[in-house]
């Protein structure tokens, strides 16, 4: 068979391995198409970029200012549990920056050369804000965050989380989303000139009015805070803002979870950016897969590798267990599981006398190679801590062959 024919056949065989939920892909495409069409129509009829600027400004003022409603909090606080003081709000600028940074990481948005600005707040009358200008390879974008302490029972607030009637709406698109915890809406104010703001406003039952917004604006000389609307020199630099409404909702939920009901940032919000494990990181997955009897004494890892040291409280013995995604080249398989996964189990000598390394490799049909090892020592280079690792080869195999690793990022 000529090489060209072989190549064609190989391409067909390889392409055949890629599957996708066609319906959801099609639905997502059509939603994107409808939005594209709506934007095109809007840009055709809108008079000038000034309108967009006004809209952005209005949104900014509405969220970063708007303290009138808060003044009535005291009068309505009686409807809330007496233990919660919705007037107490204490958050620093550093907390706000961390919350936004951690939230951006949580949404999975790649952020390049970020420039953060933030303001704190020490009272319900003033919103705490944060913003970030960043690049992502497609231009500059901005994401802003505003958090205001409110009494969720306050009736006036519903106006902010309910879309106006379509005929009176200043927004190109606005969706009121019902929910037990909050009603969320987003606006898309793309007009001629291309300045667009997409925003999610959320009223949390814990007593926070949260707005996250994203703009297709260049970084300019603005003051501190989330005040994109105060940026009179704003100019659009990309077709759309970086984050879609789904990502914005995710970010708003993250922000909500970063505050205590008492009006302060909690440990999730205060954690130093970059140090929190992602759900798709190996370490949290490894910890979930460990046998319940093992007590984790210490842990560590990177995105594609995780390790724990487990402690036997009775004997004081420590076992180092690590798992990672590798690009292996030496294949030594003992068995093939029904799903096609090849598994190899070996027992190797460690670096220190008496140290045993129990290693299980699993190569899935999609090429994902997971390697899990356990040492009867607190680290691969430490002296032995016991006669054998505290985990069996069968348990290690269960970890290495888990489908959870397909979810790892």
């Amino acid at each position: 068979m000529p090489f060209e024919d072989e190549l064609g056949k190989a391409l067909r065989d390889t392409a055949g391995t890629f599957t996708v939920d066609r319906r959801s892909l099609a639905e997502g495409s059509l939603a994107r198409g409808r939005r594209r069409l709506a934007r095109r129509r809007a840009s055709a009829v809108a008079g000038s970029a000034a309108l967009a600027v006004v809209l952005v400004t209005t949104a900014g003022v509405r969220l970063t200012g708007g303290q009138d409603g808060v003044g009535t909090v005291g009068g309505t606080a009686s409807t809330s549990p007496p233990t919660v003081d919705h007037r107490h709000f204490e958050v620093t600028a550093e907390d706000m920056e961390n919350i936004l940074q951690n939230g951006m990481e949580d949404t999975g948005i790649a952020v390049v050369h970020p420039k953060f600005r933030a303001t704190g707040s020490s009272g319900a009358g003033r919103a705490a804000t944060a913003s970030v200008d960043f690049g992502d390879g497609f231009g500059t974008a901005r994401v802003t965050l505003s958090v205001r302490r409110v009494d969720p029972a306050e009736q006036d607030l519903k106006e902010l989380i309910t879309c106006p009637p379509e005929e009176d709406s200043p927004y190109e698109e606005c969706t009121t989303q019902p929910g037990n915890r909050a009603v969320k809406g987003y606006t898309e104010a793309g007009k001629a000139g291309g300045i667009k703001e997409w925003a999610v406003t959320m009223l949390s039952p814990g007593g926070y009015l949260i707005e996250v917004a994203t703009h297709n604006l260049a970084a300019t000389n603005t003051g501190a805070g989330a005040g994109a609307g105060t940026d009179t020199a704003a100019r659009s630099v990309r077709r759309d803002p970086r984050m879609n409404p789904g990502k914005l909702r995710h970010l708003a939920m993250f922000v909500d979870a970063s505050f205590t009901p008492g009006g302060e940032a909690d440990s999730l919000g205060r954690v130093e950016p970059g140090t929190r494990a992602e759900p798709g990181d190996f370490l949290p997955l490894l910890k979930e897969l460990l046998p319940g009897r093992l007590l984790v004494d210490s842990e560590g890892g990177t995105a594609a590798q995780g390790h724990v040291v487990v402690l036997d409280p009775d004997s004081g013995m420590r076992t180092y267990i690590e798992v990672g995604r590798i690009a292996g080249d030496k294949e030594a398989w003992d068995e093939t599981l029904p799903d096609g996964t090849k598994v190899g189990t070996r027992q190797l000598p460690g670096k220190q006398p008496g140290v045993v390394r129990l290693r299980v490799d699993a190569l899935r049909v999609n090429g994902l190679w997971i390697s899990a090892s356990a040492y009867n020592a607190p680290s691969p280079t430490s002296k032995k801590s016991g006669a054998a690792p505290a985990i069996t080869a069968e348990e290690l195999k269960t970890i290495a062959t888990s489908r959870s690793w397909l979810l790892a990022r």
Partner: protein
Amino acid sequence: MEFATGRAGHLHRSACLLTSGDTHLAEDLVQETLSRMYTLWGRMSRIDNPAAYAQTVLVRTYLTHRRRYSAAERPLAELPDTPGHRGSDDPALRLALLEALRELPPKDRVVVVLRYWEDRSVEETADAMNVSSAAVRTRSTRALAKLRERLGGSVAELITPA
């Protein structure tokens, strides 16, 4: 919707080859392609072959993406765990093919995918890429030579009996 659902699978597989296995980028390219088709739907009656047109839109969307996103491509994405159809039993060979595709310049890769996966003629390929037929022939010859050098006899091992 019917058109989008019907074409999404094939476009996705094409996009996976174009992106040499980056399924996330492939999905994004397909969504972009179908969303553009949606906006064109009113004029679709004037298009002879909407399926082929969608393929052309996909290729041009991919090439535009490549131009705008000049950074190195992401590492090979993981393939689905439960493939609808499996070719060779050896994932290493499939990965080798995707790796070899990844080493080709984007336009050469497009030529290979259109010519040998889509079975498009030189002229159709040239039309889709908006280049001359001669350019397609040149790229095709060059890409095949590189793939032959890179893969050698392993292509024969990769394919399943007809």
